[in-house]
């Protein structure tokens, strides 16, 4: 779905157009295709595409850590979940429900979680970072799961979707098409921001931490502070994905704070290609599509994670760069 248009600018690469021109032409083509898609697709696939974009945003946020800072986070479900519950709090407490307030609350929740996780886990490196982020996400899971009076416990929270409103200009109910466009706009903006961040001097320092942390420290960069910033930025965008998911599905559930969500995030990254930002979106599209097709072919009960898990292992061994790995340099230029 999303791969086809991305190939286009690469084949143009042999002509005399400059890199920047081709990149932005390709970018516009992809956005145009994604924006036009809900007009053609059926209701089911429209929702499916929207979900791919939301999961893609979550995976893209963790790519900032995995691909650019060289730290694997197994705890992104915490940020995602706090975004969800934050949005839920705003939608339940404030009448009438307001979309922008939901985003604000969700981002605040995710930022709080990210600050907590970042403060402790960035003291550790590599594998220990991965383990501690996992354990921290389980802390949030246990708290949310057992604090029934506040979070609804196992049942989660159910709320109604706010209106899509731009103050003084526009105010209407979300349809699945406008929902898709809204998500697309948020994801696109996030991509542009994250791309800008990774190309900024700040992003360069992050990449030098990935390549050689002791040397980066020796040059005089406050590595710990950069890592914390990176985790927090990543957590903010993960929280944004959580808000979008909550608004689309009108509920928040502790399942999404559980470790499996973080695991999926890592899988999307590895399949799509780390360090590319768009790769994770492609990865989530590939994974969710494969899951859907397997369920349609072999029935809902089919343990789709067995074949997909094997694909994942094989990709780590033979294709660690992921589906978009061949275009990594090009996309980051």
């Amino acid at each position: 779905m999303t791969t086809a248009p991305l190939d286009k600018p690469l084949s143009l690469g042999k002509t005399r157009l400059g890199h920047t021109t081709i990149f932005w032409i390709g970018f516009c083509v992809v956005i145009a295709v994604l924006a036009a898609a809900p007009l053609i697709l059926s209701e089911f696939w429209r929702r499916f595409l929207t979900e791919v974009l939301i999961w893609g945003l979550l995976a893209m946020s963790s790519d900032l850590l995995i691909g650019y800072t060289g730290m694997i986070s197994f705890g992104h479900s915490a940020f995602f979940g706090l975004g969800m519950y934050g949005a839920g709090a705003a939608l339940l407490l404030v009448k009438p429900p307001n979309l922008w307030l939901a985003i604000l609350f969700g981002l605040t929740g995710a930022a709080g979680a990210a600050l907590f996780v970042a403060y402790f886990s960035t003291r550790l490196r590599d594998i220990y970072f991965a383990i501690t982020t996992l354990i921290f996400s389980q802390i949030f899971y246990v708290v949310i799961f057992t604090w029934t009076s506040l979070t609804g416990g196992e049942n989660g929270l159910i709320f109604t979707r706010p209106h899509l409103s731009i103050p003084f200009i526009y105010d209407a109910r979300f349809t699945s098409t406008t929902m898709h466009w809204f998500v697309l706009a948020v994801v696109t903006a996030s991509y542009l921001i994250l791309r800008r961040v990774t190309q900024s001097p700040f992003g360069m320092v992050l990449q030098s931490i990935r390549e050689n942390e002791p040397r980066t420290r020796a040059i005089g960069y406050p590595v710990a502070r950069y890592k914390m910033m990176s985790v927090m930025l990543s957590g903010l965008f993960a929280g944004l994905a959580g808000v979008l998911y909550a608004v689309q599905n009108e509920f928040a559930a502790p399942n999404f704070v559980y470790f499996l969500t973080s695991g999926d995030t890592v899988i999307y990254n590895v399949i799509g290609g780390i360090g590319t930002l768009v790769g994770p979106i492609v990865g989530s599209g590939f994974f969710l599509l494969a899951r859907e097709l397997l369920a349609r072919m072999f029935g809902e009960q089919f343990p789709y994670l067995i074949p997909l898990g094997m694909v994942f292992i094989v990709m780590i061994i033979f294709l660690p760069q992921g589906l978009l790995g061949f275009a990594r340099r090009w996309l980051n230029r």
Partner: protein
């Protein structure tokens, strides 16, 4: 004076003793799992994410063998052997090609394995929890409880396995190879030690220990496909708190954390008692990131 006496009277001494016994029993099982994890980590720099799944599969193999033969001891030995073979196959197929790559790749690969194994167990055995009947039915009286001897036996057998393993590392030929490889992989290879074989062997031993603890644990509560993640998380906490790659440290930490958790269940719901071990982890990271039970690094 009265207040002090009241305070001491309010402490439920019998409960504390019962929970101490409980904590030591779970602590020994946890120590058995964590020492396999630490061993694999210390030798190969591989954090085995699938360790909990090996524990879970070991318990399931035990369930199957007990159902077929009715013998618990056969299940214990058989499950350890089968899981050792599975572990060795896992190492050869997925981890051997990753040697020399970024260690982060191995955590991803073992994470993939854990997904496959967990979903296999769900698919094969279904979501309903299974149980192994208690191999010993006798019990003794501990205050108002009939405490099963089996639980004491678990702790003793786990301690025996760990002790035997320690002697094997200290004096066995293969154990010496393992320690040499842990110390300096390249030098060990130069001395003629078959390092790839040591890696595979260590993985097999670690898997067998996880499987044995799975079978030992199975009669106390049920066996289901999600139990792996809970235990591997606890084992991770223990390994971090005990000091990475430090065998004695992780055993001490396993007992320490389990004791704290079982004391916490006196006042808290068991699902909330987990938070205590999280707090221990956070405090360790804050004040002693190298681990609680290791000498202070110079």
């Amino acid at each position: 004076m009265d207040a002090v006496a009241q305070f001491f009277n309010a402490i439920p001494l019998d409960l504390i003793i019962i929970q101490t016994v409980n904590g030591i029993v779970t602590g020994m099982i946890l120590a058995l799992i964590a020492s396999g994890l630490t061993l694999i980590f210390g030798i190969m720099d591989v954090v085995n994410f699938a360790h909990g799944e090996l524990f879970m599969l070991g318990a399931y193999v035990g369930v199957v063998v007990v159902a077929a033969t009715g013998s618990f001891w056969l299940a214990l030995v058989g499950s350890a052997l089968i899981l050792a073979i599975i572990g060795a196959a896992m190492q050869i197929l997925t981890l051997r090609p990753l040697i020399g790559r970024d260690p982060l790749n191995t955590i991803l690969a073992t994470f993939g394995i854990s997904l496959v194994l967990q979903n296999y167990a769900l698919w094969q055995f279904g979501p309903v929890s299974r149980k192994i009947p208690d191999p010993m039915s006798s019990s003794f009286t501990l205050f108002y409880l009939q405490y099963p001897w089996y639980r004491i036996f678990i702790a003793a057998l786990s301690a025996a396995i760990i002790g035997g393993f320690y002697l094997f590392l200290k004096h066995g030929k293969f154990g010496i190879w393992i320690r040499a490889t842990a110390q300096d992989r390249v030098m060990a290879q130069a001395m003629g030690i078959p390092v790839p074989l040591v890696h595979t062997g260590v993985f097999a031993i670690g898997s067998a220990m996880a499987a044995a603890s799975g079978v030992l644990f199975a009669p106390t509560t049920g066996v289901d496909h999600t139990m792996g993640l809970d235990w591997v998380l606890k084992a991770f906490i223990v390994v971090v708190v005990g000091g990475m790659g430090n065998l004695g440290g992780s055993i001490a930490a396993a007992i320490f954390v389990s004791l704290l958790e079982s004391y916490a269940t006196i006042w808290l719901d068991p699902s909330q008692a987990v938070i205590v071990s999280f707090v221990v982890l956070i405090l360790t990271l804050l004040f002693r990131p190298t681990g609680l039970f290791v000498p202070t690094p110079k």
